[in-house]
Symmetry: C2
């Protein structure tokens, strides 16, 4: 059973047309055949479909039934993720997407050992979509940035949490009824004092993941697991 | 500040002698110098030390103070981990050690695509010790196996949980006061019906990590994070 995403304009009367690289992936990589069943997700709805025809860059499917997406976490989680070496950053997008983040904002931190430009956004979006399909998400997490820390601190969901190994308070799942949360994860060397001061100014709450030290690529995954609490 | 493990016999009156590959790692990789401070852990105690001399395969340190280990989770977590492709299995040892497992038992599952023998145990133990040092654990998780599933199901802490995406019950942190828990994670293709029957016979409780599908290398990390709850 395959799982893919499409644009709402691809949903027609009783049919879904899967195009471009998504059709290519289904036809050439997964080798989907006519008669095979799968799920297509578009803007909050999930469609059970059966494949009609498979052409180069176009897979036409017939809708069997549709429903509201069912696999999304109850809470919107925005991750402000400092830039990491590319392999680590990609791994963070993949793992946190599977666990359930809603949005990932790349942040240029003082101690990030790489500088990335917006030219990496298409690659990051591809990783997020592929991980969302593999994990059967009901949406593809939005990937934004890279932004400066001050830009990233404006305009996302509250409460705003910052992972800081020195914090006295532990990260916990927010109580039921909290609809969104934003959390920030620093690079391998941690946040600088100046950055922590900026977080304090933005009224971010410092929280820790406990006494054990987690690598930069592991901390956001553990934090997402706790925030989402597999709901 | 370095962090390393030694045998109890390396603790002498006011001094700790670090030997062999551990000394080599400190001297040649971390390039520790006389006067540098660090932490040495032996059998439940943590020693703050200062380096006296660094020789080939021997680092002699002086004890400044000692205390009971402080970074260990409140609960003993045993992971029955089915064999995965080597890179994935190594990554699981590294990440679950940092998050806080007590013991990892390699299990030969029906759908494990690799067969490993006990010849991989030294490598696994090295990965566990290195991850335990990096994350500032108070113990190195024990690595055992590979065992057959039936052997693995005997003799570890109860409750015994088995991750099964079809389970109705979600994995949750055990209540305070539960001292140990064992959980089993299957290979990429999941457990077979025969294996699930074996778990049922062993009175294992099937639990899921929620509706999203996690890769075999990610599931044990998320599960450990939930079980340990960063305590």
């Amino acid at each position: 059973v395959f799982w893919t995403f499409v644009e709402p304009s691809n949903i027609r009367a009783g049919e879904v047309l899967i195009e471009g690289s998504r059709a290519h992936h289904l036809g050439r990589v997964l080798r989907v055949q006519p008669g095979e069943k799968g799920v297509v997700v578009a803007e909050g709805r999930e469609y059970s479909v059966v494949v009609g025809s498979v052409h180069r860059d176009q897979v036409l499917t017939r809708i069997l039934e549709s429903r509201t997406v069912s696999n999304e976490p109850k809470i919107r989680v925005t991750l402000l993720q400092s830039l990491l070496p590319n392999a680590d950053f990609d791994a963070v997008i993949e793992a946190t997407t599977a666990v359930g983040i809603t949005r990932l904002v790349a942040v240029q931190a003082a101690r990030s050992v790489v500088r990335s430009g917006p030219d990496r956004l298409p690659r990051w979006a591809t990783i997020a979509e592929s991980a969302a399909a593999q994990s059967h998400r009901g949406r593809v997490p939005e990937v934004l940035g890279p932004l400066s820390l001050s830009s990233a601190l404006a305009g996302f969901d509250r409460p705003l949490l910052v992972l800081d190994p020195q914090a006295g308070e532990r990260l916990e799942a927010p109580p039921d009824g909290v609809s969104g949360v934003t959390f920030a994860v620093g690079p391998e060397g941690g946040w600088t004092d100046a950055e922590l001061a900026e977080f304090a100014l933005a009224r971010a709450r410092p929280v820790s993941l406990g006494p054990r030290i987690l690598r930069a690529r592991l901390a956001p995954v553990v934090a997402t697991a706790i925030l989402v609490a597999q709901r």
